[in-house]
Symmetry: C3
């Protein structure tokens, strides 16, 4: 991983073998990023994606391997009880050019990944919500 | 819906049952946003997406239900004759992890949606274009 | 193509028949953009997309025609030896609403395309990397 900061934006290069989720978490800790919008493209050779089953509140996951283009990576980095909390979704394409994806659990870089973290000057908290079974974004000071 | 403004960016949380299109329109009216770039992720339980048939200039639409991850939401908010005008495209994944989508007509939040509106300091107008049959972006003062 | 600059952001409208890749390259040359994040939506009537086969380091490409929505366009504009270098990935949907895509080689606008170029105030270089067979992003002054 290498990156450079340009104002409120970090341009990040991830290298072969690095996990996207772990790398971005580490970057947020090291650079003390508390709130950021994450996006990017690249190529993976392994990914674990999830679907949240809204009725049962359970995550289903599936793993894919092979040469895959990241055609869309989107989400955000917040904090939950002080710890970095990532919420990332991903769309990939494979040798058939068909697109697939979901909630990003793990994604190993196969060639390179080029991410942008746009830092927001402030904070948002995550709190567990019983109704949805998810850790939702909240804003301090709100009821 | 709850949101917080960080400089030129609004981080928005939509809640179960809310329609993305209507919510973003309302937010643009309330916060007097005239031009913004929209992006986000989340999870829907209903969506209506469209394809614009360029030859016949007709929109085809299709509805999908069930647990769906928003793996990409992208577009913009402009104004047309003073009214908020949204142009949003969406990519979703379902229990098969296959991706699908199109022009976003309606999208009901199933769990949560986390959007970012990035306000541009200026305006762009929409005007009907006979050649394409679409309301295209234009810039005031241009010929 | 018409565009307007709002601070560090360019909102760009491409018109029927224009190629996305060529148009963005030309814009970067004309506006002297050295580093930018690119995103957008729109509709194409022809696209050539690629997959980078990580094992053999070869690009496979496939062409698609017909009415297609751009549901996600993402990437960046850098420079390589002074020349504009685009790295763009794309997700599209067609009349079946299924999503597909990959590395964007060429994309002819069928109706309109609405892009955003976000200029980063600085530079990043591309350099050929023998290990991956790709032109990777680097940051001047790094080892």
């Amino acid at each position: 991983m290498d990156y450079r900061r340009f104002g409120a934006k970090l341009l990040v290069r991830l290298d072969r073998g690095e996990d996207i989720v772990e790398s971005v978490k580490r970057l947020c800790r090291e650079a003390d990023i508390r709130l950021a919008v994450v996006s990017g493209i690249g190529a993976l050779d392994y990914v674990s994606v999830g679907l949240f089953e809204q009725g049962t509140k359970q995550y289903h996951t599936k793993e894919f391997s092979g040469s895959m283009e990241i055609t869309g990576l989107a989400g955000n980095a917040t904090r939950m009880k002080g710890e970095v909390y990532l919420h990332l979704h991903i769309v990939l394409t494979d040798a058939s050019y068909a697109a697939f994806g979901g909630h990003l659990n793990k994604g190993r870089v196969g060639a390179t990944a080029e991410l942008v973290l746009e830092i927001l000057d402030g904070e948002a908290e995550r709190e567990y919500d019983e109704v949805t079974g998810l850790n939702l974004i909240g804003f301090a000071g709100d009821e």
